[in-house]
């Protein structure tokens, strides 16, 4: 994986020193909160319901064992012994003190981590396919391209004050495991006639106005990728609305201009920027790519002893096909039935770090589904890995099932939320686990947001739940038919909302409809798309 060069290190160290001084001046009263707020946000420090919250970037979700151990140390030293892995492959600490923040950032810098650009109207942490570098179906490893974008977008002087935040995802396979088309810019690395290039999508996003990004160019030569991205951003930065934050995202600009006009303007800017020469030299991409060279895989057994049914179920559910046939990628579920999605204790982080070191070439991934991943595990090592995970409460065999719920922190932590998300996730996962219906239902992606900002990706859930404030009480809207994958679609609201008990019962009812109507091999989403909304509405409101 990528290691900082002297420039990266100098930049991060300088930023820590700068923030230390800013925090000191705030604590001494030399800066007001209005003056300090944009400065702390540039360093990932929010003020949430109960305390300050620090969001730490994990570029394209890739970290190594020593970094994970540092995340555990931060949790113990400056927080309350746990962290929360997010839908943008980051980690958040919920109880950070302002007076400790600079020290926490300094500790993070020792392992080449930071919290820069995890907030504010700038280009945020670049996300990527969590199976990058391991997936059997990828064209190339997308991470060198994501890293190049990270370097280009870090401290980019022109894009520090965009109209609104800006999120980029990079994948390199037909399968979309990063919600690529629900980003401000989605990039798919492709090959055409043996040449590597980038397919660009722009203007997607969730939030209060969900939109699927249209294709704006089907092939950008890889040695022009940054120039093209710069052109996309320049048009947005120039014409994106700044008068209304709810209409300031690029999706609104692309929608209001129309994709064709946005593309025309981007192409014009692209031609101009090509003449300016902003593209990094090819040697830089080659230098970065060396850090992502595949590990030294070795041959070995390609099957496992399936005599233990619990182990066999975990292998079936939580492992993913690897490009080397003696390996798999193993998903570490942070979704125990009744647990808090995405939360991990410091002890669990240290265990995962140890497993990465022993069994996965010192590599780990944070998944946007709020799980962790050991990308390269020898099939022969799976029993040992599973046993260690299971003993630590990390062995739930529930990837992509109704227990694998994405849930934002909601009103339990977030100052923007209108309703709690986590208790719903806990009750639904517990209910389905207890009744044994999880396996019967099969693949079903349920996503919960506690407000319209949609951090829990409810628009993209096969079943989505949105918490709203209804005259001071929590109310939940149910929606069906969303997908963030290559068959991307936006969920539609079923009808009037429910209270907490009601929405849990509603989830059971819609799964009943599915089970009664499904054809062989159909997922919930397939059945919904075939039979439509009406049977579900009839069951819910009939």
């Amino acid at each position: 994986m990528y290691r900082y060069d002297q420039y990266d290190k100098a930049m991060v160290d300088a930023r820590v020193a700068e923030f230390r001084d800013q925090a000191r001046r705030r604590l001494e009263g030399k800066l007001t909160e209005d003056q300090f707020k944009p400065l702390r946000l540039m360093n990932g420090l929010y003020l949430q319901l109960h305390a300050y919250m620090l969001r730490v970037a994990i570029p394209y979700g890739t970290i190594d064992a020593r970094q994970m151990e540092m995340l555990a140390d931060i949790a113990d030293k400056y927080d309350r012994g746990y962290g929360h892995f997010t839908t943008r492959q980051n980690i958040q600490y919920n109880w950070i003190k302002l007076e400790d923040t600079a020290d926490a950032l300094a500790d993070l810098a020792t392992v080449e981590m930071h919290a820069i650009q995890t907030s504010g109207n700038c280009i945020r942490n670049i996300s990527a396919d969590h199976f990058a570098g391991a997936a059997a179906d990828e064209v190339v490893d997308p991470r060198p391209y994501a890293e190049l974008m990270r370097q280009w977008s870090s401290f980019h002087p022109e894009f520090t004050y965009l109209p609104r935040k800006f999120k980029i995802a990079v994948i390199a396979s037909e399968k979309d495991r990063a919600a690529m088309r629900l980003h401000d810019i989605g990039v798919r690395i492709v090959k055409r006639d043996g040449e590597v290039g980038a397919e660009f999508y722009a203007g997607g996003g969730m939030g209060r106005t969900p939109m699927i990004a249209p294709l704006i160019r089907d092939f950008v030569p890889i040695d022009q990728m940054i120039t093209y991205a710069e052109a996309c951003l320049r048009v947005y930065n120039r014409y994106g609305r700044r008068d209304n934050k709810y209409k300031a995202r690029i999706k609104i600009l692309v929608h209001e201009l129309g994709a064709a006009e946005y593309i025309r303007q981007v192409e014009e800017e692209f031609a101009h920027m090509l003449s300016v020469g902003v593209e990094p030299p090819r040697e830089e991409l080659a230098r970065i790519a060396e850090y992502f060279a595949p590990p030294a895989f070795v041959d070995g057994p390609k099957t496992v002893d399936r005599s233990d049914p619990d182990f066999a179920l975990w292998v079936d559910r939580n492992t993913h096909r690897h490009k080397h046939d003696a390996y798999v990628s193993a998903v570490i579920s942070l979704k125990p039935a009744g647990g808090i999605p995405g939360d991990a204790t410091s002890e669990q982080m240290r265990l995962v770090a140890r497993l990465a070191r022993e069994y996965s070439f010192d590599e780990l991934r944070v998944m946007h589904t709020q799980n962790l991943l050991l990308p390269h595990v020898r099939i022969a090592d799976l029993p040992a890995v599973w046993q260690a995970l299971d003993e630590a409460g990390l062995g739930s065999p529930n990837m992509d099932t109704i227990e694998d719920i994405i849930a934002c922190p909601g009103l339990d932590y977030c100052s923007l939320a209108n309703a709690r998300s986590i208790p719903l996730a806990q009750r639904i996962s517990e209910r389905f686990a207890e009744t044994g219906r999880t396996e019967v239902v099969g693949e079903l992606k349920l996503k919960i947001s506690g407000c319209i900002n949609a951090c829990g990706h409810h628009h993209a859930g096969h079943i989505g739940i949105l918490g709203v404030d209804k005259k001071g009480t929590e109310n939940y809207q149910l929606s069906l038919g969303g997908s963030e994958a290559e068959d991307v679609s936006l969920a539609k609201i079923t009808g009037p909302g429910f209270d907490e008990d009601g929405v849990i019962a509603a989830v059971e009812k819609v799964t009943d409809v599915y089970l009664a109507a499904r054809s062989d091999g159909e997922r919930f989403l397939d059945t919904y798309r075939r039979i439509g909304m009406e049977p579900f509405k009839e069951a819910l409101y009939g």
Binding site: R26, L49, H50, A51, K97, Y413, T473
Partner: protein, 99 residues
Amino acid sequence: MKILTGNDLRTGAVTWWNGTGWSLFVDDAVDVGEDAEEILAREEAARRVNVPYAIEATIDAAGHVRPAHIKDRVRALGPTVRRDLAVPTANKTGWDWVI
């Protein structure tokens, strides 16, 4: 009643105006009546509190203060899903009145 709340500048902890200072316990909150704006301006300027604001609340016969909005009730006790991290309170029924 009208009470004042905010976050401690150094730690971020939720605090409540008790008439002379800022307490971690919602039951210590006092009715500020018409004095809210004056106290808020003075306390924020003195950096004894961060982003303070006034809210409506009620007080029961046992003296337990209950903020009117659910968001402030969650702030008063802590995350409902991590009761082990809750603010210590004498209000034994606290979790019942959050929702």
